[in-house]
Structure formats: C-alpha cells, structure tokens
Chain length 355, copies 2
Amino acid sequence: MNRDAKGTITIYDVARAAGVSITTVSRVLRGESNVSASTRAQVQSAIEGLHFRPSALARSMTSKRTNTLGIVLPKLLNPHYARVFTGASEEAQRNGYAMTLFPFTSLIESDFDLATLLEERFLDGAVILVEYLEPLQQEKLISSLTALKRHMPVVLIGRKPDLTAYPAVYHNMAQLMRACVAYLTGLKHKRIAFVGGIEADRDDIRRDVGYVEGLSLAGIDYDPSLRLYGGGTAQDGEQALNRLLDTRPPTQWPTAVIALNDLVAMGCMAAAKKHGLNVPGQLSVMGCDNLFFSPYLDPPLTTVDCRQESLGARAVQLLLAGETCQEEAEWEIIVRASCAGAERQTSDEVHKNAR
Amino acid sequence: MNRDAKGTITIYDVARAAGVSITTVSRVLRGESNVSASTRAQVQSAIEGLHFRPSALARSMTSKRTNTLGIVLPKLLNPHYARVFTGASEEAQRNGYAMTLFPFTSLIESDFDLATLLEERFLDGAVILVEYLEPLQQEKLISSLTALKRHMPVVLIGRKPDLTAYPAVYHNMAQLMRACVAYLTGLKHKRIAFVGGIEADRDDIRRDVGYVEGLSLAGIDYDPSLRLYGGGTAQDGEQALNRLLDTRPPTQWPTAVIALNDLVAMGCMAAAKKHGLNVPGQLSVMGCDNLFFSPYLDPPLTTVDCRQESLGARAVQLLLAGETCQEEAEWEIIVRASCAGAERQTSDEVHKNAR
DNA sequence: CTGAAAGCGCTTACAG
DNA sequence: CTGAAAGCGCTTACAG
C-alpha cells in the first residue's frame, strides 16, 4: 500500500526491507532497548541501505513538540542584538532546541502580524524583544501577543514590559542611567548631555528618569537642551551632537556625553573630532552595550556591558521552565579611556551651569 | 469523536460549531472561492469564536512543504555574517519563507552533524556558508552535505566550493585581492603586507594567489615575511601587525597593509598607533567587508564592500528556483581616508625592496 | 521481544 | 457549492 511513488522513503519501506513491522522500526529509531540484537541489526542496515531519515514533521505531529523556538529581534545588524541572539540560541541548542529568527522590521512591514507569523511556523515557544512602537502599532502588538499566548509560551525581553502578564527579563534602565551619571559626576562633570532615543519611548523615558535623578543626586539641575533625542545609529549620534555643537558657543558645550548605545557613542566621537574637541581631554564620551568595536575606538570607549548573552540565555531558560516571573538582568560599567576628569571646565562655566 | 480533550482545538471543532464538514472549513481556511457567502461567514465566526489556528504541522504533513529555509552561518557576532543573514532572510520572507539560523560553531561542537541537525528540522532547503575546516572536519562536512542533499536542495555560499556538484554564490577572492594590491601599487606602495587568514585555508590561498599576482603585475617581488597569517578578529590583526613592527627595524616596515577583513583592519590601525605610525601618512590600511563601523574609524577605512545582502539574497533565489549554477558575486572598492600615497618611502628603501 | 490498529490535524482527489 | 473517505509518516497504547 505504501509505495514510495513520490520518492520519499518511509518507515514502511524500512519495515518491508527488514521484514519487520513499522512498530519495531519505530522502536529502533527511538533507541528503545526492548528489541533483540539481531532484529535491531537488520533494521539498522535497512535504514542505512535506504538512506532513510524519519520525518520530523510526522514525528512532531504525534508528539506535539517541534523542538524549535522562535525569537523576534529588531535588527541583527546591530551587534547588540547579535549578542542576544547568540546567547539565546546557544541556550536553546544546549536543551535540544533549534531557534528560528524573525527580524522585527520585516514584521512591521508585513502588516506586523506577529501571531500569524509565529504560529504558522512550528514553534514550541517564543522570545520576543520589541523596541519602541507608535501607539497604533503598540496596540496591534498587544493583541498579537494575546493571540500568540493562547498557543505557546512567550517571554518578553530587553525592556521592562508594560504588560505584567508576561514573563520577562530586562535591564533596569533608570538604575543603569543613574550609575552612568554618577560615574561622570564623580569625575566632576556638570554639563552632561544624553544623546539618542525617541522622546515618546517608554524605555528611553525610563532612562530619562535615571538621567534626571542622577543629575539631581549630584546637585545638578536638569537642562533639557542637553537631552538630544534621535535614533540609535552612529549617524544619528553624529548628527545630534553636531547640531548641538554647531548651535552653542564653545563655552556652553557639554563636558561629557552619555550615548544611548555604542553606535551613537561612536558617532558622537566623530562629531567631537569634527569640532576639534579632544576625547576625553575636552569631552568625555560614555557608551552602552560594550560591542566588539568599542575597545578599538580612539580612545577606547568607556561603556556599559549589558551581558546580552546572559539576557538571551535567561529568557530561553524562563521559556523552557515555564516560569512566569519578570526579572532584572545584570550590567556592568566598563571603564576604558574615553572619559576623564572635567578639567576643561572653568569655575566661571561651572557657576553658570549651576545658575 | 474528536473531542478537544487535550485543549487543542481542531478543524473538527470548527466544523461542528459551524455545522459544516471539515472539507468546507479547510476550503475557507485556504481562501478557496467555491464556498457560498453565508457558509463562509458561519465558518469565519466559528473560527474567531474558538480562536482557531490551523496546525502548520498537519498542513505541512500533506503539502510536503514547510515554507521554512535553513541557513548555516559561522559567527553572527561578525556583522559580515549578519549582513548575509539579513539579505537571505529578507529574500526568503519576500517569498513566504521563514529562515532558521544554525550557528556553525555550535555545529562543530555538537559533533558537526550537519545532516541530522538540518533534517531533523522542517526545512524546504538550506543555504550553507562554511569557513575553513581542518581536513578531518572537511571530510565530515562533505559526507554530511551528501546526505543532506538527498533530502533537500542545498546552496553553498561565500567561497568557491571545492565541490562542483552544488549550486553556489561566491566572491572571486583572487580577483578581489589583485584589485586591492593594484589600488595600493597605484598609490606607489611597494612594501605591502597582507594580514589575517589561516595558511592552510583554501579560500585564503586563493587570496594569496591574487596577492602575489597583484604584486607581480606591479613588478614587485613577493616577500613571504610580509604575509602575516592569523585569525579574523580585531585582536588577531592587532597582534599580527604588532609582532611584525616589533621585530623589524622601522626602515623595513611596510607602507601599506591589506587586512583580511574590517575587523582585522581595525586591529591593524590600533597596532600602527601603538607604534606611533600615522595612518595613512605613514601606513596605509585597507580592509574588506565594509562593515558599519568602518566609516567611523579614525581615519575612515578604505575597504571592499562585498554586497553581503545581495550574496545572501541571491543564494536564496538559487535555492528557490532550483538552479544548479555556481556564480560569482559582486564587490566594490570603497575609497575613504585610510590609504594614501607612499611618500614615506625613501628611494633607498624602494631599492632594497626591489632587490 | 514483536505487531495490528488507532490517532495526530490537516489536504486532496472524487462524488454528488 | 458541499461532503465522505483516504492519506501524509510517524508514535502510542494495547495485546500477545
């Protein structure tokens, strides 16, 4: 009955070749012990002779498991996300799972139907990292998540979710920013700019909270004109800082810059050089993410390592364990050479800044 | 008969709720037109009411297609591969396919059984990029590929395969290297080092051929001590060039360096600075790949854009079209500021070099 | 230690 | 326009 008319060879072909039932073939396939040595040998040789491979599809059909996880990530071209993926993927592999990557930008383009995209595939669960979304897209995301959650476990990652119903791993960005500001105020900086991020974004707002709090703790008034919003690329950082330096007299320039991430920091360093500012002599620059290129910038970049691999790995652990907690991820300031004491500041300027 | 005992709701549940047969449900699911409007509406509302999602597993079971492609890539942390992945993934998406990424290093760790890993998943085809392998691993790869090819179409990518039986997209590395050397000899350089890559590697040997040919075309003898083998990271590049500069008198230093890739180039620039060499005034540095950070190095890096996105996209096209050709991919030299004329060279040195 | 039968959740001819 | 039946390639109780 089961001819290999279509060329695919099945467990029936093996059974026939070995002169046993498909049940027995299935048993040796799954490595069960209750098969006689001679039968096993016959089946094995039939399998090899026919180059038989069991269909994962049929297997999953009965077992209801695919051993495949999905991960939704914004842009892999940013090594930050590549680090997250690497950590998640390796943890998955360690547990016998493969990982299917869904680039986020294309999700938005393709009507952003997270639920359909993920469900149509063969996933046992999904890790989802979302960046800032317009309110309308945000609503769509939430309903997508609701639909998705009905069909598989989901873990959110990267930023503290507004949704408490989902397990999550994220960085405490307010705390992280306070630490960055504290590091720079400890270096006697008073005019500290913060570059990058979208004003409407919840996560960046959290960073903003930490930024303002950090300044306040050091007795520095928050100067909104030193908060430069913009994107997250090197070009964005370069443009933002260029604009500030172009429109202010040098005496009003910041003595330190905290960048949204290392890419933005790299752009800021380019803007500083363009304006003849020595880094860190005349301008300290601090990044975030600790990407592979940051020790090779000139000067090497002081930044925050966000342990992206652990973040991704932890998300997979929560997913596989079926945990429902929301937990904070670790980070650490990496001191290199791009930040120095605020010696350029005159007491005059300090006075002006303190108003 | 089909109770939703396990919680999963199926096409039978929908059929019952809508008072039709499963055939009819299947028809509206697949958007066939031969269903009356009223029936369609009933089925639709049953689907929505039950939050029904068809099982992709069962669907693929009959259709024999999963609409999922696999891609094997070395280390995603190198943005070069991220660019390849992006191009491949977007092309796949454009054609209704998802893309499962298999990081290569973990394949090697996990006994390197490409065939098992890929077949156990649900793939309609695979794009495979391999880097240099030890001879033993190379053999295992080839037998894995043979096994894999029996079950799905495969396209090789990135380097010219030794295997002619597989469709492939790759760069003509000898030609690319000749062009790099020609660019630098055009700038009057005579002592041109080549940094990075493994001596035993076929692909790098091809680059070596182009390197030697390029020198020869400019009437320069090949000096083996200027060929610095090593890995492909920034650290590798830094160490390799440091070693050369440490062991040679400054009068014997190269006036130009071609790096295996942008990461190595970045490391070379660090080594140059450590030895007080101005780039490009005293040492020209040329990279390969044109990664996002290269315009932000100081000075901005002259490099070769390898059109990685097109490379990945083209591989997917060949895969989906069932083509069997091996074709060359495009590349282009991107001139920035890290290479300049060889003015540091004295006629004495030139003479010595020419022997 | 081995096998016959039912079932996983769909799609696909085939009838009507 | 609609439905009954077979089949996709396995695994899983259930018998023996």
